[in-house]
Symmetry: C2
Subunit: 268 residues, 2 copies
């Protein structure tokens, strides 16, 4: 992708993310009209929808030939990542948004011909912007994030993962994962995949595994994690298909093989 165009997209994306953040902060105490999607705990609110519509409107007006892949379905129905695709989660961590009124994020990834060029994750209530352009490093606000340390001891790792990994599930034997949590230093659950990617990029967690994430949950995060020397794959170590849901692993590269080995021990 042309660098001048990329810089322009990046500036627009950040401008719109901040505008969307302002709208969310202004309206978040209005009635949220909470609905559920795939299950009773998969929440969506009026503001998720309105925020996605805001982005789709801005993008389609400014870049007529760009595509949008968005969680709430106001974008395009894509069968390929050819061209320039904005992959957007208007409110990642909707359960936190509803119950906590914080700890949620706007996630915007911009991909060109399938390559992640720009990643932006905005923690709306903390007013913290994680952002990266491919090959130019990742930033938290104005501070460049250092490369992840070449840690090697899995028993000193903190891993983000929810509790379902330790219940009977279709991916791995839960007993292998019960052993895994005993072998590492600690686990964390924050309830926003985008923020958990950002925290991994920041090095405050060493990795994050999730059973089922959609492209909009991870598109921006992948770019951020790449820029600090991290790695994101499915739980078998394969490259991700960015048009499908996948079970994913993102982590400090130093731990990638070790975490994969643990997942493979119980892999069904």
């Amino acid at each position: 992708m042309n660098v001048t165009l990329r810089d322009e997209l990046y500036n627009h994306a950040i401008e719109w993310v901040h505008e969307a953040g302002n709208i969310i902060r202004d309206k978040m105490n209005d009635p949220l009209d909470i609905q559920t999607k795939s299950n009773a705990n998969d929440l969506v609110t009026k503001l998720d929808k309105e925020t996605e519509q805001f982005f789709v409107g801005k993008i389609k007006k400014t870049y007529r030939d760009h595509f949008v892949l968005g969680e709430e379905g106001y974008g395009d129905d894509l069968s390929s990542l050819a061209g320039t695709v904005w992959i957007i989660d208007p409110i990642d961590g909707t359960m936190n948004f509803v119950h906590q009124k914080r700890n949620f994020a706007i996630s915007v990834g911009i991909y060109h011909d399938g390559v992640g060029e720009i990643g932006i994750i905005y923690d709306v209530m903390a007013n913290t912007l994680y952002h990266a352009k491919r090959g130019e490093g990742a930033y938290k606000n104005d501070v460049r994030l250092p490369a992840l340390m070449e840690k090697t001891k899995i028993n000193e790792a903190i891993i983000g993962m929810n509790h379902f990994w330790l219940c009977e599930n279709r991916f791995v034997d839960e007993r292998a994962m019960q052993q895994f949590v005993k072998d590492i230093r600690g686990t964390r659950v924050y309830g926003s995949a985008a923020l958990e990617f950002a925290y991994t990029a920041e090095g405050i967690m060493d990795g994050y595994i999730s059973m089922s994430l959609s492209p909009w949950d991870i598109a921006a995060g992948i770019v951020l994690v790449n820029e600090v020397g991290g790695k994101t794959t499915d739980i078998d170590g394969n490259e991700l298909n960015m048009l499908e849901k996948s079970p994913i692993l993102t982590c400090n590269s130093a731990f990638h093989t070790k975490i994969l080995d643990n997942l493979q021990k119980g892999r069904k």
Copy 2:
């Protein structure tokens, strides 16, 4: 306890908590001299120790007849809670302190003849002070925390609990807890008991269970949670012995019986 004296203690405690927070922020990028205690993941640093010594020094100089119960052992060796006892965790969430440089708290509870009179939990890096006096409500900074809503649906509850509840353990059958996490709306793991009590008091989580907490982990939190209509007991519903470690449940009172019932289903 005399109200004038209590107000004086409260003001001193808040002043010292802020001073200690300043010291921690100033020194946290110096070498931490990390050691381990009960196990390889039970971390302690020079700053945990120095911060506790700071509090013990201030308290003993100002209130010669008060006692201190502190995590790092610089206080008194108590066999009773008679008199006025400051129960202090200088850095609650030391793993977060070491790995994240945020998401840790100073916790100060002041008890008189066994009754929790004052609770202060200070999120040092967010500069957020949770504080309460018995019978006078709980506050987050200058804002009074509202009474917890009389929620009743356990399937809409967010519960803080670590992953060990879903591994074989000596308290409950892990399968009962695996079912429990499927029955509730969501789980969170933040890595600081004091903050998890504060979040419960704030209502951003509906409860928190932990297998083994010491008096300094919970002394301040109990006062906060009480003041918003929450309840803290051991996992059998019994009152806590504040001189011992216990498996604990703190929550919105509306959920207390329901969560206890779930714990009892698998109780060993």
